[in-house]
């Protein structure tokens, strides 16, 4: 009995910190509609800054420790203000996914800044003065500081509730959460409201990180660790709902505390299982409300996807020719790099099929890439199949996964759908990570080598060129087939598509299967390229890489993902070999690209440069929108 009580209290203590971070994210999303990936970075900065401030402040005055925590949160709030004013404000008119990409750029920058400023080793903060010990609860010791944390959660919830109910500013925030266009149409300074909301959110995240200082070591992977949990909490609670965030944080904190005891094997997936169940039963989370339909007129899909013009086809033909003769000039290192680029181009195209063509954002596309890789690797090592046969097992497994996941996902839309894809990907990752006997767990599967004829770099390069290039071309065919047309109709207007008898769910489920299968092909090629498979191929960073490639290239063109993949992958390989701080540079480049090309690289070329080239042919000097 007392053991249960202690576990329950443990759950509540971790729920508090999670709640601080999650409610900030939820408030920011509610008002600004930005999925702020950088929220975990604010949390991490809060912890590091508190660590740095605590020592000197404790020497300077008694009780200095307790000053360090709020000061750290304030410092993070100021960093938040800087980010909002210098970056986010410039891109409010960009599509939401690009804002997400920009915040991901911040994540990369902060990761390297933390390494530069604080070094790679874990940092242990001081214990909270006066609360170092444990108190006795029903005969068991319980950390006194954790009791304080348990109280902090409800206190912040109360404070925020008063802020939102009793102050004029809070009422505005609630109104903007429901319908921000209307708030602007009533003359409220939207920019100031956004800045203030972002500062509040950053403050809460910073505080969440700072209060962790006496509990756990501060380290440089804290950001992604917490952001994933935070997403789960926010989505389970309902986007934009502070009370929902608290409810979800407590639910997950407590479940996790018991889960670790009862089923240690599934502790990693527990949160995601809960999220999947909640989203299937309550698609808007526990306390979420439907958002006012977005009325923005800056549609993402105002430029329809068209078959490639003749002139561009010549460019592709020349490019293909160059790729075909490349082995004559290039060494094996370069060929391997190019093989990898092509594999990721196929991966990006498959994600683009889901997002750009199907209109369904996915934060968990690595699931299908990884299933493809594991499918091929297992078929080879467990069933003893040769590469030629094992390679088929990858896409089949990936397509099967996509069928199951897609079945649930297409019941949702928007951010909720994206989050559910993330949940499924994490569940898949956790299975691969923990099912040692089959997948080898963290040690992965080794010895996934191609057949003898394809072992040389040049031979494998040609194989990749053929399979990945062919896959990309085949995927294009789907876009212009009746199935692709129907899918795009569902994306642009579910109502009208429904009215003309298109079965939306069926189209979208099939889109998942197609995208999954092609991602699976890419994954299985990747397994043979590397000769091994590790759980990384299912993990979040790979999903994010996919998103970055697709968005960098541009969502509304089919060439976009290929260009995005090439630019991003080449940049990464080049930078990683040249400096340790490649994240910093890539982060800056991503942000610069998002600000300069709000429609992606190819989108930009299509909109600004291509018309200049086309003009001499003089086919359409018509008046268009300004």
């Amino acid at each position: 009995m007392d053991f249960l009580v202690i576990q329950f209290l443990n759950g509540l203590a971790s729920a508090s910190a999670l709640f601080l971070v999650a409610c900030g994210l939820s408030i920011i999303f509610g008002v600004m509609r930005i999925v702020n990936f950088a929220h975990g970075s604010f949390y991490m900065l809060g912890a590091y800054i508190a660590y740095t401030l605590a020592g000197p402040l404790m020497d300077w005055m008694p009780g200095g420790f307790w000053l360090a925590l709020p000061l750290a949160a304030l410092a993070v709030a100021m960093i938040g203000a800087l980010v909002e004013i210098t970056l986010l404000r410039r891109i409010y008119r960009s599509p939401e996914l690009f804002q997400l990409l920009a915040t991901f750029g911040i994540v990369l920058i902060v990761q390297d800044l933390v390494l530069i400023l604080w070094g790679p080793q874990d940092r242990l903060g001081p214990r909270a003065p006066g609360l170092e010990g444990a108190v006795n609860i029903l005969g068991s010791p319980f950390p006194a500081y954790d009791l304080l944390l348990i109280g902090l959660g409800p206190l912040v919830l109360l404070g925020l509730t008063l802020l939102f109910r009793r102050t004029r500013w809070g009422v505005r925030v609630r109104a903007a959460t429901q319908d921000r266009e209307m708030v602007e149409a009533l003359g409220i300074r939207q920019d100031r409201l956004f800045t203030a909301v972002f500062i509040l959110g950053a403050f809460l995240a910073g505080l969440g990180g700072a209060v962790q200082l006496p509990r756990a070591a501060v380290h440089h992977a804290m950001d992604l660790e917490i952001i994933v949990e935070t997403f789960v909490v926010v989505v389970v609670g309902g986007l934009g709902s502070v009370a929902g965030a608290y409810l979800a944080a407590v639910l997950l904190g407590v479940l996790n505390a018991f889960g670790i005891v009862v089923f240690p094997q599934i502790s990693l997936v527990l949160a995601f299982l809960v999220m999947a169940v909640v989203l299937v039963v309550r698609p808007l989370g526990l306390l979420g409300r439907p958002e006012a339909a977005s009325r923005s007129t800056t549609g993402l899909w105002d430029t329809p996807i068209r078959p490639m013009a003749r002139g561009r086809r010549d460019i592709v033909f020349v490019l293909a020719l160059v790729l075909a003769v490349l082995p004559v000039f290039a060494g094996s290192y370069l060929l391997t790099v190019f093989s990898e680029v092509m594999i990721f181009a196929l991966f990006a195209c498959s994600l683009h099929f889901l997002m750009g063509v199907g209109g369904m954002g996915s934060f968990g596309h690595a699931a299908y890439f990884g299933l493809g890789a594991y499918g091929a690797a297992l078929a080879m090592t467990q069933l003893g199949l040769p590469m030629e046969a094992a390679a088929f097992a990858g896409p089949v497994l990936a397509a099967a996964g996509a069928l199951v996941f897609g079945w649930f996902c297409v019941r949702l839309t928007g951010v909720y759908l994206a989050m559910l894809t993330l949940a499924f990907a994490q569940i898949t990752w956790a299975i691969a990570f923990q099912w040692d006997s089959v997948t080898g767990g963290d040690n992965g599967i080794l010895g996934v080598w191609p057949s003898a004829w394809a072992t040389s770099a040049a031979a494998f390069y040609y194989l990749t060129l053929l399979v990945a290039g062919g896959g990309i071309l085949l995927l294009r065919q789907f876009v212009f087939a009746p199935f692709g047309m129907g899918l795009r109709a569902c994306r642009d207007s579910p109502l009208r598509a429904d009215a003309i008898g298109i079965d939306r769910a069926a189209h979208q489920r099939l889109a998942f299967v197609v995208a999954g299968a092609f991602a699976g092909i890419a994954g299985s090629l990747y397994a043979f390229l590397k000769g091994s498979v590790f759980p990384d191929v299912l993990a979040i960073p790979l999903s994010v890489d996919g998103l970055v490639m697709v968005l960098l290239g541009g969502l509304q063109t089919l060439t976009g993902p290929v260009v995005g993949a090439a630019v991003y992958k080449v940049m990464r390989v080049f930078l990683a070999s040249w400096t340790d701080y490649w994240r910093l540079i890539i982060g800056i480049v991503i942000i610069a690209l998002v600000v300069a090309f709000p429609r992606g690289i190819v989108g930009y070329i299509q909109q600004r440069i291509a018309p200049l080239l086309d003009r001499p042919e003089g086919d359409q000097p018509k008046a268009g929108p300004p």
Partner: protein, 234 residues
């Protein structure tokens, strides 16, 4: 002139919706913008307010050029908009909704207070603390108009304020519009309901497929049955 719109074009994506629409509204005058469903009335109001990003043409409010300005600035310059679908904040109480609309008093423009609006729409006073999502459709319409008036506009644009309301409430709306005119506001009224328009407006403009088809007094329009039949759902 309080509001002058000169050759306004507006686009949704690549589709052009408005073609060189021109109109003027004077102080204390109500101009009815009439047209069938889909004619472009709402787009017209949204484009004037800057909510349609892709637009061309000149809009002058109270002598100052507001074309190309951001919506918030236009509103703070004194242009009020009451959307067709009301868009009240359902989670907020009636009073909180009014609070959102509040702007500082403006020189030379009628000043509206919560108490004054409650005397214009007594029904609202009775539900002042209730969440706005739980009041009747008629009360919601009164609320959305009051909320816009809290911004002390010098020109107000109303998008089908009589749509779907009981006759008694429509009469209340007519009284309110008359009061606004008496205070010297310019009123631009997008409507399909001829009876209501006749009760409150002085002049009328007919829009069809994004182009102006008729301009004149309402008497003129009603006398010419052919015009009314051709462009309006009568």
């Amino acid at each position: 002139m309080k509001l002058e719109v000169h050759k306004l074009d507006a686009f949704y994506g690549r589709a052009q919706i408005l073609f060189g629409v021109t109109l003027k509204v004077a102080a204390g005058e109500a101009l009815a913008l009439l047209g069938r469903n889909g004619a472009g009335k709402s787009t017209m109001l949204r484009a004037i307010l800057g909510l349609v990003a892709a637009r061309r043409g000149r809009v002058v409010l109270d002598g100052r050029d507001i074309s190309g300005m951001a919506t918030g600035r236009i509103v703070r310059r004194g242009l009020g908009w009451v959307p067709e679908d009301r868009r009240i904040f359902t989670d907020l109480s009636v009073e909180e909704n009014l609070e959102i609309g509040r702007q500082p008093p403006r020189a030379g423009v009628p000043h509206w207070t919560v108490e004054r609006l409650f005397s214009l729409f007594p029904n609202l006073a009775e539900v002042r603390r209730r969440p706005a999502g739980q009041i009747s459709g008629g009360e919601q319409q009164m609320l959305t108009i009051s909320r816009t008036l809290m911004g002390n506009p010098c020109v107000i644009m109303l998008d089908e304020p009589s749509e779907g309301l009981a006759p008694l409430i429509v009469e209340r709306m007519a009284v309110a519009v008359t009061e606004m005119k008496r205070e010297g506001l310019g009123v631009l009224l997008a409507e399909q309901n001829l009876t209501f328009s006749r009760a409150v407006s002085d002049r009328a403009t007919i829009i069809e497929k994004g182009r102006i088809r008729f301009e004149g007094t309402l008497e003129c329009l009603l006398a010419d049955e052919a015009v009314a039949r051709a462009y309006l759902a009568v």
